[in-house]
Symmetry: C2
Subunit: 259 residues, 2 copies
DNA sequence: CAGTGGTCTAGACCACTGG
DNA sequence: CAGTGGTCTAGACCACTGC
């Protein structure tokens, strides 16, 4: 790998007098490491090369690599462990799950009820509606996988989730695969389909229980439920999942920290 | 200010064989800067001394001060502006408000509807119930200020908020002061009472509109509303506000980013 | 132009992990 | 013990702001 000049290529400057985008070296190194992460050169859970090795590879100082990795760690794309190395982040870790599941019991710590019981109700291949296509950056009519599942805590059905995935990257996903896998769904996506969810946006509303939701969640029709619509993104802000969750909030609540 | 040794005082080690807590120099510097922020040596909106000045004051290198300030900036306690200096963060800035108000219109950018209309319904001094006392780390019966307000967007009442504040630090707060002030409430707290909110925890539930909420929000009784219970903290994780909000989510939603 | 924060480097040393 | 990440320093230079 050749050395990267600390300044962006001025030839990219189109209009006369336009400001040349200044890109620090460590940002460029971050981009290069990001590429290797996306390409799968290093897989989730594995160690990436040491700071010294990367510094040699990119012909920069260790401090510059360090700052690049600092940012990747802040983005949760990578995890540092002193004395051991730097590892590609994975959803197959207990504490990571609660970054994406914010419903916690009113009493007791998150996850204190033990693992949820997961029941896959349905999983089928359909054609994307205009709305779903828009959310997933597809075209109407493109094939998508649709699934529904129920999460129960201590035997009480608490969450119903419908989710839609683009069919191409998730080719081969079935209700059986989902049911047989014990662990976070996003961990399965990593190992089986090489899709790593990096961030997500959620829109939260209060809605009355309708349709079949009341019976699935064992509440009376019209009971207020938390509606949580999520779009999850993989690298480069590519949307890879649309999820609509309905949460009972009589014994649980959605916890959020503002800072 | 004397130089701080890079290691914690071993005499603090009580039990034989107990691990001595290791505290990096930059963390200690961060703590010292934090003290100055709390004490009001530098006020919200003002510049703190330059990195070089702080390095001289604490007898450490600029790089160490830099790392300390980096963390303070990441915590949003301080804002860096290249070429100008480092400034104490304040809630009297537009983009900061949306860190603490996550209800956004379904269409259009956050705040695109213009500023909300704020109506103070009530503000009185009461004695803390056991529940409120617990949330604010007070004792039952301690004096607290209770207020209720309605926020309307485009003339539509959308949020009802009840809030409780410890009476001592907020001595002198009245409905008039709240009504007359145009700007974020937390900005008023900063300038008038020297209380700066640093972070908050929110518990979100779906509840039916009850009591007087239905009429205040102009919805029919039983309509699902988002219940948002917030405890806001000032420096050192001291709780300074309990707030219960009820949000209409027919044209707005609570937005959250998971990363 | 001086002063600020931002980047990059090189080197020394410390803390932690595992063989 | 060697190898990893973590801290600290000193110095050079760059980018941005305002006078």
């Amino acid at each position: 790998m050749a050395a990267v000049p600390p300044f962006a290529d001025p030839s990219a400057d189109a209009a006369a007098g336009a400001a040349v985008a200044f890109s620090p070296l460590y940002q460029q190194i971050k981009g290069l490491i990001l590429q290797s992460l996306q390409s799968g050169e290093w897989k989730p859970g594995e160690a990436i090369p040491s700071e010294m090795e990367l510094a040699a590879r990119y012909r920069v100082s260790q401090g510059t690599v360090r700052k690049a990795i600092d940012e990747l760690a802040a983005d949760h794309l990578v995890v540092r462990r002193q004395g051991k190395g730097t590892f590609v982040a994975t959803h197959a870790e207990n504490h990571v799950q609660f970054r994406f599941l914010k419903l916690v019991p009113d009493t007791g710590a998150p996850g204190s009820e033990g693992p949820a019981q997961r029941d896959i109700i349905d999983c089928r291949r359909i054609r994307a509606s205009a709305e779903i296509a828009r959310a997933l950056s597809l075209r109407s009519g493109d094939a998508v996988l649709q699934a529904r599942r129920v999460l129960s805590y201590a035997g009480v059905p608490t969450i119903v989730e419908d989710l839609w995935l683009p069919a191409t990257p998730f080719k081969g996903l079935t209700a059986e695969r989902l049911s047989d896998y014990h662990g976070p769904m996003y961990a399965l996506f990593e190992t089986e389909f090489n899709v790593r969810m990096v961030r997500a946006d959620e829109k939260i509303r209060a809605v009355p229980a309708a349709d079949g939701l009341d019976s699935l969640l064992q509440v009376s029709a019209g009971t207020p439920l938390l509606s949580v619509e999520r779009i999850a993104y993989t690298y480069q802000d590519i949307p890879m999942e649309l999820r609509r969750g309905y949460y009972r909030t009589d014994t649980h609540h959605y916890h959020n920290r503002l800072s």
